[in-house]
Symmetry: C2
Subunit: 328 residues, 2 copies
């Protein structure tokens, strides 16, 4: 039995864990906690275990192997660190934290802990992403040199709590939305350093001046030039919450990924466009518990969780400094 | 009769003019010139008028209303200026020139000339671009806030002359390929100032170290955040020379353009995705001679030709300065 405890539930992604617990015989929620009564009712209503207002109390009273951290973004770091210091492993919604100081503290705690740390990078495990990763790793595209990605999301403003629109609660858009594509970039290239410039703007949510509804990142890893955008401007009437698309260009070929249309195409110097076959989708955090069950490290490693977060936070730092290039 | 004279023919785009002359009764090529004998044979073989090695001589001996400039990129500025100083109008292939000093000289000549200056911005007149422009100008997308564009091109290296791979002859990739999308950006937004950062790289044409096979631009006009990439890495086996795609995001809706598949879709807050109807394609420089014939200014104006070129050259300047932000 894999005992898990939910520490903060302020975003629908907490359902990833509850879905996994419902679908498996050996993932058990032993307790849950969320300080905000509205969020508690909204996100933890279905939990059969004790539900607390105070995450510290839940953690003190319910030993568990895994802490699942899904609360207000700026409060996640503290709970991640608490779990790691108890030797627990952590599965954390993105963004893992909202500041580089928080990230450094997490990194120190992780280095001293027996527990592992994994962000819920569900996009990495989508069938389209797996097919893309496989074709890149096969070498068919040659050396990857360019990545262009666009990541619009629906804001659905009335469904978002106040903290979501504040810098103190949310951090910035650059530390949040682009981190999935940064993770994919890192998996495709094994880059570990580089530089990033980012610009943010807010044109549609004018009643919340601290909020940004758009971000553009340019990342230069030396080998790869990545252009990543993301925004909260996906139209309400769109059929999909996020119309994510990515183009990956290598010295020998190009791949185009259209996630909502479940389509990955590859063209190379010698072979015309073909459409890749896709595997059956998995549940969003199935990768995590499948690994734990067999004693393996989760595919999203501690180091990967920290590096992707560092790049995203560095992008936000750039945006906060008028787009200045920042190294990571 | 609109008498035209070809001054330099070092790129297949000179066919735009020859196609127009063949298709119309009143566009007449009175002379042509290209110093390089190989290019002269390749691009001017079909010309029925006198063909010279020396553009100056052709210009001196054959009065014409329009100079069409399609030679080696770095030599275009001088011929553009010669024509303007004679009071002729100029239709010039992109890039119009390869340096900001050349551009300033062109700008001075244009200010003192009765002739107009138009770049062959054929992409602006593609049915997909016209449909996009119409929907943007209708206001249906609200205020435009983001543009993401990717512009891969086939290099077909054996077909390119040596000058194409040199900084002296070609300039840089940023002053060349992205200028079409910069022009479209300017038509959609009426922006006239802003800043740009750009990165270039060369991973596939390693036998020509002065060449760059990729570029990424981030443009901040204050109102619009644009991410534009372009490269010479379109796979040889692809069905199309350039698999151009663009996403335009406004405060009220999003448009996606897929040029080679002749598809433009629009989704707004209130209306689900729909596909726009497209007009019949025109010939690449038909817009230009249609205007001249009726005494109108070409739709691509002198000011627009200069501004788009300035942004592209400023992007190249940024790339040459390690991606530093540069204002335009």
């Amino acid at each position: 039995m894999i005992d898990t405890i939910v520490l903060g539930a302020a975003h629908p992604h907490v359902d990833y864990l509850l879905t996994e617990a419902a679908a498996t015989a050996d993932v058990r929620v032993v307790a849950a906690a969320e300080p905000d009564p509205v969020a508690r009712e909204r996100f933890l209503r279905a939990v059969q275990a004790p539900v607390y207002a105070d995450p510290d109390r839940a953690l003190a009273e319910h030993p568990a192997a895994v802490g699942v951290v899904c609360g207000v973004y700026s409060r996640r770091a503290e709970l991640v660190i608490d779990c790691l210091q108890r030797g627990m492993s952590v599965l954390v919604d993105k963004p893992m934290c909202t500041g580089l100081d928080q990230l450094r503290a997490i990194e120190r705690a992780a280095a001293e802990s027996a527990g592992s740390l994994a962000i819920m990078f569900d996009k990495r495990f989508y069938p389209e992403t797996l097919a893309l990763t496989e074709v890149v790793h096969s070498g068919e595209l040659g050396d990857l040199v360019q990545l262009s990605s666009t990541g619009p999301h629906k804001l659905l403003q009335p469904t978002r709590p106040d903290w979501f629109f504040s810098r103190h609660g949310y951090g910035g858009i650059a530390n949040d939305l682009p981190v999935h594509d940064i993770d994919i970039l890192l998996r495709l290239t094994d880059a570990t350093s580089g530089r990033v410039a980012a610009i943010t703007g807010n044109h549609s949510v004018t009643d919340h001046p601290e909020f940004a509804d758009q971000v553009g990142l340019i990342i230069d890893t030396g080998g790869l030039l990545a252009m990543i955008d993301a925004n909260w401007l996906q139209p309400d009437a769109a059929a999909v919450h996020g119309d994510y698309r990515m183009r990956i260009v290598g010295t020998e070929g190009t791949a185009d990924v259209d996630w909502p249309r479940h389509r990955v195409t590859v063209t190379t110097r010698n072979t015309p466009e073909r459409t890749l076959e896709l595997a059956t989708p998995t549940r969003p955090v199935q990768f995590y518990f499948d690994a734990l069950r067999t004693g393996e490290q989760p595919a999203v490693t501690t180091a990967q969780s920290i590096l992707a977060t560092r790049i995203a936070l560095t992008a936000q730092l750039s945006a906060d400094n008028d787009g200045a290039w920042k190294t990571f």
